[in-house]
Amino acid sequence: MKQSGWRLPDILAILNGVPHGVALLDRDARLLGMNHALEALTGYPAAQVEGLAADAVLCSHLSHKNPLYRQAMEGGGPVAAEGDLIGASRKKIPVRLTVSALGNGAAADGGLVMVVEDLSLFRALEKERSGGLEAKGIIGHSPQLRKVLDFVPVLAHTDATVLITGETGTGKDLLAEAIHHASGRAAYPFVKVNCGALPENLLESELFGHARGAFTGAHADKPGMFRLAQGGTLFLTEIGDLPLPLQVKLLTVLDDRAFYPLGSSKRVQVDVRVVTGTHRNLKELVAQGRFRQDLYFRLNVLTVHLPPLREREGDAAFLADHFLQQFASGLRKTITGFSAKAMARLAAYAYPGNVRELRNIVEYAVSVCRGSEITPENLPEYVAKAPPASRPAAGQPPAAPVPAAGVEPSMEGPAGEANWQGAEKRLIMETLLRCKGNRGEAARALGWGRSTLWRKMKQHGIG
């Protein structure tokens, strides 16, 4: 500092314009001065703490346990670490400390400069972004679900392969993502691959990548999802649909943490945690010879089963209210809730499509509801007219919904999504017919904007 001709007060005057806490330390890590931001963080006036050990003033977890100053002094380059300090308001403040040596040589001959960044805002944003399990969309209070959710921290604190089983629409994807975000790999990617969505060759390329020229059309190298998930989590959904030849390759990757991309002789090492999901009974598939037993044993390290909605006591009503708030607010409608009869219908329904189906039913109901309460008339016919007896006992697979009278069978498939798509299309067409093709009037009748109606008509191929 002396060599450059700058005086300490001048430097501190400059540092006062820096939005982070900055301190200048001597070779013994004693404070020579600090800027206003650091005064505010620590609560000590700079003039009073001059000459004191930085550790004592900073009250930081890092300076207390980590000899950052020594590392910076010996290494010469900047040394950074994240931790916390207790500020003047007795609050623990998350901070990042960066200590750099001043001077030209490897060893600092001119002291140290320490930058203290307050990470409170980042932490709050991260928390908001990652959220709790509810923010991830896993909602429910039933003991059956809580049992699963209580297991999430255990699943997150290990790198073992997890197998998530459960019927369609139970939230396997959400649970996999929640496990990833609760784990130490949260800062790295979460990559999802549907093993049932692609033919074998494409799936192999999708998972493991390929080298240029590996096959016709392979114009460039492709990294593959395993490499894209490096450091993070790869969620292989519908693992039961994985073709047998790829099962062997997956088993090898799980064992060796390495693989050869298609058409490449270069071995690729990966550090990826694998989480798998399926709605199929893998044990049965093994018995049928459609799933390798060794892979089943490899995947079945930690298994978690998501209960179907019909087995989750009270969650259907809770979720219906949740989705009602969500859609009513999205469509700017003031719907206060469900009528007792509508709620009774919802409670009696079997939900073969589980939470996904319930969500679609509520979206439909909110869309067609013109009053302040959802009535049975606002529910899709297959729900409103479904006899309570269609609700299967816990543990039993649900029966396909009984098509209601007057409803075209093509609109009423067993899956919730198919029902919804068909029902929505029918609703639009009926409204348009009623409004004699006047789209503005139809949009008003449906409680949608003209653009929403136009988008949905286009989506359903109407007009």
């Binding site: 609560g43 004592a56 009250c59 930081s60 977890h61 207390h64 300090l85 207790i86 007795r90």
Partner: protein, 113 residues
């Protein structure tokens, strides 16, 4: 008084050494202060020790609000954010002259801390 060597520990929750002293009516130290070693740094364990020992006053560095409030609620006087060597801090505390946030310097100034 949580310690780090000869100094008051900068952090209550990170201290593993605790000095326990008894004061006399005139503000002098009664007998020899003793040092208790904790198996691990823990603010909760330290609070439990303070209660178990029947301590009436705590002199420490930075302490989190919840622990400060807890000790205050237990009628323990906490003088926090004190920086410096423990001996002068103890003397001033027993004399009723130690203030929160007080910075005590070594004598002679510039010695090792």
């Amino acid at each position: 008084m949580p310690l780090l060597g000869e100094q008051i520990a900068p952090r209550f929750d990170l201290a593993v050494e605790v000095l326990i002293a008894e004061g006399e009516a005139g503000g002098a130290v009664a007998g020899e202060p003793r040092i208790v070693l904790l198996p691990a740094a823990s603010a909760d364990a330290l609070c439990a020790l303070i209660l178990k020992e029947g301590i009436g006053m705590v002199v420490c560095g930075a302490i989190e609000e919840n622990h400060f409030q807890y000790l205050s609620w237990k009628k323990i006087r906490v003088t926090d954010r004190v920086i410096g060597p423990w001996r002068p801090a103890l003397e001033r505390a027993l004399a009723g002259r130690l203030q929160p946030g007080e910075i005590l310097r070594e004598k002679p100034r510039g010695g090792s801390s």
